[in-house]
Structure formats: structure tokens, C-alpha cells
Assembly symmetry: C2
Homo-oligomer: 502 residues x 2
């Protein structure tokens, strides 16, 4: 077949995948935002049919033939076309290498595992969930063997979420956290000044004001409401249908000023990434972020590195006092900054602060590795969890519901996914350091001028979407490969000062 | 092919159509409720691809073959299967009888006509829109010839929206309105008591209270929030994805109590129809209302015949005073009932009251008929519009923006659609009369017990979905064919009493 014909078929395939993924993504979004409770069965029917078509499009014989033909002319492809081929090949491999009946059995297992996990968590009954978890781990190890025979299975799963990432790199990363952050948390617990955040998280913050504040903050971030809508859901998230159609959500708690505020900044960071991919990528599988970790680097950069900085606290405080003149009387930007940064070891990952969050991830990383190595059994998991929580965070886990059963991820079959949460923060710190060498970030932040920051990130990262690998993007932005010490240094400096540890 | 195989293929086709229509319907719904402004282009890409597949499914050669084979075994089909075949055949005819290039040209014309109409309305410039309208009318006449060669083209279009309906029946219907309602409106204008509705429509009705009221009213109507969600849009509407997933929307105006309240009851009537189609129809093209007119009969029955009745006004007033204790002080249920029923000739259809609404439809019906007869040219349309408005409603049309250009329907190619709005009210009056012979509707309404009313309607109409024709359903519910005099009698009795015309 001629090159032109192949490229036309590639284009057609991309347009089909775009349409089906749009439809299925919208059904998921709608189910979280607007759909009534009992809509699930009817939506399930439609999703099943559309995903059947999408499966054929990604893994069918026509696509196999197209990808093979494109591979033949690979040297003649543009960088973008080659990246499209790479991503489509990856999806093909993921969908075609597992025997159909095993894939179906696994889908069924996950469908049963999720309510079983929910029930087990509710009853604090790990044993009821253990048989599911055992099967999920075994299946993941077996599937990894199909994807990459002979390769370390955990590396294979890491690579699914963070292309190119390996245990070797992560071991080094988490080793740095253990060495630097564990003692820092211990020092803060033992000798840190006390911070009052009750006024901010157990106050009276009417929803109308919180909604106004969210709008102001999105404006500050340069998020165009004509291209990005803000909705309300149980748990905040970001999704996107095109570069001109991004959706972020938040959850307003009437007693808590910080929760919704920082979730909007967090999801806003994800949104800025999606809103600024290059128009040339529109409609292709490249019109999205490069990886879980790279995406999380942007949400955390805005949420924590900028959003919780002392300079930006002054800016946010102006908005907060404008929206809540009565509630903020007698408080200062300094009080707000401290409340927003209070660090305290705790049991639940999703409620953890900027400093201790990465240690929650470390617990999960180490346990996942061991499960996949078979140096830890599912039976031994709760005890191992509790021991590590005590070692790294100094907290005693009172029960499995607040311990090993707290997250939905494992019940959903996601192993190798957690590390990207911590990696994101580390990428973010390294990227910010590089940015500081070219922009006066503190001065810009203090004036609330985020546009030059977003432009810098667009130029070096966002525009490329998923065309380039995370490693390439990091090198492109920072001029150096991934180095976790920027992150540990950042955390040490910030929290040593905040807690007056001199 | 064996019957079993054919039925399996029928089932497969229905499931496919269900999934694609679900996806496309959700995109439309999302575009009205949640999507950001600039999402249109990206959504358009996805819609184009999915509708291309849906077109092939409804009008492709495989479907043609399947429908022909099913027709061969028609006597062996169940009533439901025969109705599925009938509906699929109708969609096939609609999509396959027009030559593809004419269909494409018409789609392009409509795409251009809508913004042209919007602009023309804004500038009060009918001449700018006239060329589009001329082409649209001509195309509709030509297409009607493809659908049913030799048949009156306007009858063909009426049949698209209201299966079985003809000019002959509608002429009789509108003749009754002209004879009975036009003089009644004249009497009210000349000698009717004056009704004060300013407190209700130009007051201060905070949105929180209106939202609470909407929830209460949906509860009263027996609309399960787990199966029907209420959203906010510019213009209220109802859509459905399954019998367990119906969406209604409303628009809250802070100064107007009545607008949102009655739009919720109206859309709630549509919703009850969809929520009560039989489970056996789920996933087929029959799981929806029988026709535009039959659907409108249910929304108007709840909105006007029940919702604006004196008995139900007492019930609603309890809810209103509970939600707005301050705003309702010194007012009575009687005041509310009168305000909700104020009748006054006006220029704009969508703002018309229960009594004069049908006369707005009569104007459109007569003009559409003449355009299709070619007894009226597009050039003559504005003058003909203005003359009828004065004759039927006694109002002078000051400009075309508030006259012939007010509705989007013609710019969207909808001819023969308007009559279903008025027909719905007439069906509703006849159905209510039949119901009264078996249920003490006034007593139930006065106690706010709507469940037996909905059950009666479910038993006779809702459960059948689109399996039966509107005429069959009306006969089934009323034991007699359509008779417009129930409607004219109802209007005369109600408004003569309301306006003290003795």
C-alpha cells in the first residue's frame, strides 16, 4: 500500500478511536456528575457495545495489518506520526496479547472485587477481601508475562503508567525519601512549633462563597471558562474530550475552606496541561498528557509548589477575604499559609499533607514490589502495612479499614500506579528549579502573574502532549535526567523553616 | 434464514442503535448542561463519526436485507416485534429514500440557516432569512415526494411527528378552536376581571427556595430521583437514555416563581411517560413515547389540567409557603391559582398562557399549510403572520423579530411539528375526561395524591411506549377516537369561571 493510503487509514483509525473514547469518557463523566443512581445498568449496556467496537479498533486484524505496514515505512514518518504509531502499537499489545478468555475472566473478577472490597472495608474484614486480592495479584503477574515475557513483572506494570520507569529508579527515589523525609517528619512531630488550622478546616464557609472563590482562582490560573468547565463530584478529578473541552470537578465542604480550594488548584494544574497541548495533536491519541507522573507533576506544581508557597498565599488571601469578609476578620495571610501547610502524620493517604504524602506512597510501593516478588503473601499484607506505617510515619494503625483496605486501587487491579503520585511531586520540584533559572518565579507568584509560568511549561512540556516520553520532556525542561534530590531538598527547606527547626 | 437467527439479528441491531443513540443523545444533553462554550468543534467531530455509523445501521444494505426478511415472516412476529419492525422500517425509509447528495446538501443548508435566522432575528431583517426559508420549504416538499410519492406533502410531514395525523383531522381541530376560543379570548380581553400576577412573576424568589420547591414538586409527582435527574439549562427539556435514566431540566429566574415551577411540572409529565414504559421494551426503539403529540399530552396534562387546577393550587401553595414563608405572607392559594392562570393575548408563543397558546399554534399551522400548498410565498409570510395574529389574538405585531422570526423551528427544517403542541393539550383534555369517569380526579388532586392518576395513565398509555400508534392509545384510554370538543369545552368552562364571565 502507498504511504498516502496508509496515513489516510491511520487518520481514519484515530478519528474512530477519538469518537468512541469521547462517547465512553462522556458516559463516565456523566455518571459522576449528573446521572441518576439507577442509570448504571442502561449505561452498562451502551458502554459494553461501544467498548466492544473500540476493542476491535485497537486490537483487530485490520489494525494489526495497518500498524505492521506503518512499521515498514517507519523511517519516512514524521516525529508525530511515529509517536502515534508507538501509542497505537502499545494499545494493540495491551489488548491483543492476553488471551480473550483470560481477559474476560479478569474483567469479571474485578467486577466482583470492587463491591467485595467496599464491604470488607466497611466491616473491617480483610480476610473477606484477601481471596480477591490474591487472584488479582496473580493475574497481574501472569498478564505482565504476556506483555513482556521474561521481564520483571512489576517493571512491566510501572511502565504502563510511567513509560520507561523502573524499580531501579524508584528504589533510588524512595531511598532518598526514607533517608531525608522520615527523620524530618520525626523532628517535626517531636519539636515542631504547633500550627492552628482549625479555623480553616472546621469553620463556617458557605458554599456560595466557596464557589465564587473557585471561579476567582481558576481566573488567576488563566483557565478559560469557555474551554474548561467546573463541576461537583464526590471525589475531584479532571477529564478531557479535546483541547477546547476540559472538565474539572471539586467537592465543597461547608466547614472546610482548604479542601475545595486546593482541589481546584490541583485539578486546574491537570487542566492547564490538557488545555495547552498543541492544536496539531487534536483528535489523535497524542492529545493528552505524557504519563500519569508527568500529569501529576503539573497538578502538584500548581497545588503545592506554587499554591502553597508563601508568596502565593498573599494572593490567595486577597481572594479569600473578598469572598469571606466576616469569616476572615482577625486572620492574616500568614495564618492562612501556615494552616494550608500544616504537616502531621496521619492514617489516610487522601487526607495527607504535602510533606507526609510521599511516605504513604512509599508504604504502598514497597508492599506492591514484595507481592510481585512473592516475598510477601496477601495474608501477611496487613501486618506489613501496619509495621511500615509505624516505621515511616510513626502512627499506629488501629484497624484494616483505616489501613491496608483504605484505597480502591488494588481492588481495581491497579498495581504500579501509586508511585506516579509521588513521582509527580518530584518531577515538579525539579521542573520548578529549572524554571527558576529563567524566570523570577517568586516575584511572578507574589504578583499573582501565573501566565509566564504556564507559558514556560507549555513551551517545554504541555505542547508535546503524549508525543514525547516523560524522560524526554524532563530533559527538555530541565536539561538533565530525573533527580529526586530537588524534591527532598525542597521539602526539607520548606518544612524546616515552617516549623522553626532552624 | 431461520426465524431465530433473524430475531437475533434484530436484537443485535436494536442494541447497536441503542448504544449509538445513547452516546449521541448524551453529547447533546451534555452540550446543554455542562460542556464549555468552545467544546462544539470537538463534539462535532465525534458526533459526525457516530452518526455516520448510525446512518449505516439504519439505512445500510444489511439492515435492508434484515427488514425484508422479517417482513416475510411478519405473521409469525409478536405484537412487539412487529412494532419494532415498523419503527425500523420507518427510519430506513426516512434515511434511504432521499438521494445521499440531496441529504448532504440539505444538512449543509440547515447548518447555514440556523445562524442566518439568529442574525436575521437580531436585526429584525426577514429578507436576510427569506432565501434560506424558501430553499428549506422547497426541499421539504421535494423530500415528502421521495417518502410518499403522490401524497399531499404536508400530510407526509405531519405523519412524521404524529403518525396517522392528517390535514383533514387538523382542519377540524383548528376550526373548533377558531369557533370557540377566538371569541372567548376576545370576551376576556374586553370584559374579563383583572388578575394580578406581578407579585408572582416580578417578585423576589431566591434560587435556593426555587430549587427546594422543584424537588418537592417532583416528589409529589412520584418522580424517583434515583431514576430521574433535574438539571439547569437555558430552555427546559426532557431526554431519556433508559426507563431508569431520564433527565429533565429547568431554568430558574430569580424574579419569577411560576416559570421554573411549571416547567418542572411540564417536563415532569414527559418524564413520567418515559419512566413508565414497560421493562420489556428496554433497549429497543419502542422504549419511548408514541409520538410528539402523545408526549405533549402528558406534559400538558400535568402542567395545565392538573397543575393549574384549583384543587392542586391548594397543594402547591403548601409547598410554596413552606419554601418562601416571607414572600408569600398575605397571599392566598386563590391568589396563586389566579396568577398561574392569567390569560392575556401576547406576541411570543413560548410565553403564552394555557388559553391563548393554541391560537399561536393555529397561526403557524395555517401558514405552513399554505406554504406547502404554494398558496402563499415566503415573501408574503410576514404580512400573513401579522394579519392572523391580529385576527386570532387581537395583537398588533410591531416587528418581524417578535413575529414571524420568533421561533427556531422553521430554520431547523421542522414543518408539521408545531401542531403536535396543540394536539397534545387536546389529547390531554380528552384523556382526563375519560379518567374522571373512573377516578375521582378532583378529590385525588386536592389531597395531592397523584399516584393513582399516574397508575391509570401507565396502564392505558405509558406502558406501551412506541409500540402502539397514538390513535390506538387514545382509543384504549378513552374508548373513542380523537375528539377536539373535550378541549374546547374544558377551556371555555375554566376561563369563563376564572374571569367571572358567568
Amino acid at each position: 500500500m502507498q504511504k498516502d493510503q496508509l496515513l489516510e487509514r491511520l487518520d481514519r483509525l484515530e478519528r474512530q478511536l477519538y469518537a468512541y473514547r469521547y462517547a465512553m469518557g462522556l458516559m463516565e463523566y456523566d455518571s459522576e456528575t449528573a446521572a441518576p443512581l439507577l442509570s448504571a445498568a442502561g449505561r452498562g449496556e451502551a458502554l459494553a457495545l461501544l467498548s466492544e467496537v473500540e476493542y476491535r479498533l485497537t486490537a483487530g486484524p485490520e489494525t494489526a495489518e495497518l500498524l505492521a505496514a506503518l512499521e515498514q515505512i517507519a523511517p519516512a514518518l514524521t516525529v508525530q506520526q511515529a509517536a502515534q504509531l508507538r501509542e497505537l502499537q502499545k494499545a494493540y499489545d495491551r489488548n491483543s496479547k492476553v488471551p480473550q478468555e483470560e481477559y474476560t475472566a479478569y474483567s469479571r473478577l474485578l467486577t466482583l472485587a470492587q463491591p467485595a472490597w467496599r464491604q470488607a472495608k466497611q466491616n473491617d474484614d480483610f480476610d473477606a477481601f484477601a481471596p480477591y486480592l490474591r487472584q488479582i495479584v496473580e493475574t497481574n503477574i501472569r498478564f505482565a508475562g504476556y506483555y513482556a515475557p521474561g521481564r520483571d513483572p512489576y517493571d512491566t506494570w510501572l511502565d504502563q503508567y510511567e513509560p520507561g520507569m523502573t524499580r531501579a529508579q524508584l528504589d533510588e527515589f524512595f531511598e532518598a525519601l526514607r533517608r531525608e523525609i522520615v527523620p524530618l517528619v520525626q523532628r517535626i512531630t517531636a519539636e515542631g512549633a504547633s500550627i492552628d488550622d482549625r479555623w480553616a478546616v472546621q469553620g463556617d464557609w458557605p458554599l456560595e462563597g466557596q464557589k465564587q472563590l473557585a471561579r476567582r482562582v481558576m481566573d488567576r490560573m488563566g483557565i478559560d471558562p469557555a474551554r474548561c468547565a467546573l463541576g461537583e463530584t464526590e471525589h475531584p478529578f479532571t477529564t478531557n474530550f479535546s483541547r477546547d473541552d476540559v472538565r474539572i470537578t471539586t467537592h465543597y465542604y461547608p466547614e472546610n475552606l482548604l479542601s475545595s480550594l486546593y482541589s481546584v488548584i490541583h485539578e486546574g494544574g491537570h487542566a492547564l496541561y490538557e488545555l495547552n497541548t498543541a492544536p496539531r495533536l487534536a483528535g489523535t491519541c497524542l492529545a493528552t498528557g505524557a504519563s500519569m507522573g508527568m500529569h501529576e507533576s503539573q497538578s502538584r506544581l500548581y497545588e503545592n509548589l506554587i499554591g502553597r508557597s508563601r508568596a502565593f498565599a498573599d494572593v490567595l488571601w486577597q481572594d479569600i477575604t473578598a469572598c469571606f469578609p466576616a469569616q476572615t476578620a482577625g486572620r492574616t495571610a500568614e495564618d492562612f499559609w501556615k494552616a494550608a501547610n500544616k504537616a502531621q502524620p496521619s492514617l489516610i493517604r487522601t487526607e495527607a499533607d504535602e510533606l507526609t504524602y510521599c511516605l504513604h506512597i512509599m508504604v504502598r510501593y514497597e508492599l506492591e514490589k514484595q507481592l510481585f516478588d512473592r516475598t510477601l503473601t496477601v495474608e501477611e499484607l496487613p501486618a506489613a502495612w501496619n509495621a511500615r506505617m509505624e516505621e515511616y510515619l510513626g502512627v499506629k494503625v488501629p484497624n484494616n479499614a483505616q489501613g491496608v483496605l483504605q484505597d480502591v486501587h488494588w481492588a481495581g487491579g491497579s498495581f504500579g500506579y501509586f508511585p506516579s503520585y509521588a513521582l509527580g511531586s518530584a518531577y515538579g520540584a525539579q521542573i520548578l528549579d529549572a524554571m527558576r533559572r529563567q524566570l523570577d518565579v517568586d516575584a511572578l507568584t507574589a504578583r499573582g502573574e501565573l501566565a509566564p509560568i504556564t507559558a514556560w511549561l507549555t513551551d517545554r512540556i504541555y505542547q508535546y502532549g503524549a508525543e514525547r516520553t516523560p524522560a524526554w520532556l524532563l530533559e527538555n525542561a530541565c536539561g538533565a535526567p530525573f533527580d529526586p534530590t530537588f524534591y527532598t531538598r525542597y521539602l526539607k527547606e520548606k518544612f524546616t523553616a515552617l516549623y522553626g527547626l532552624g
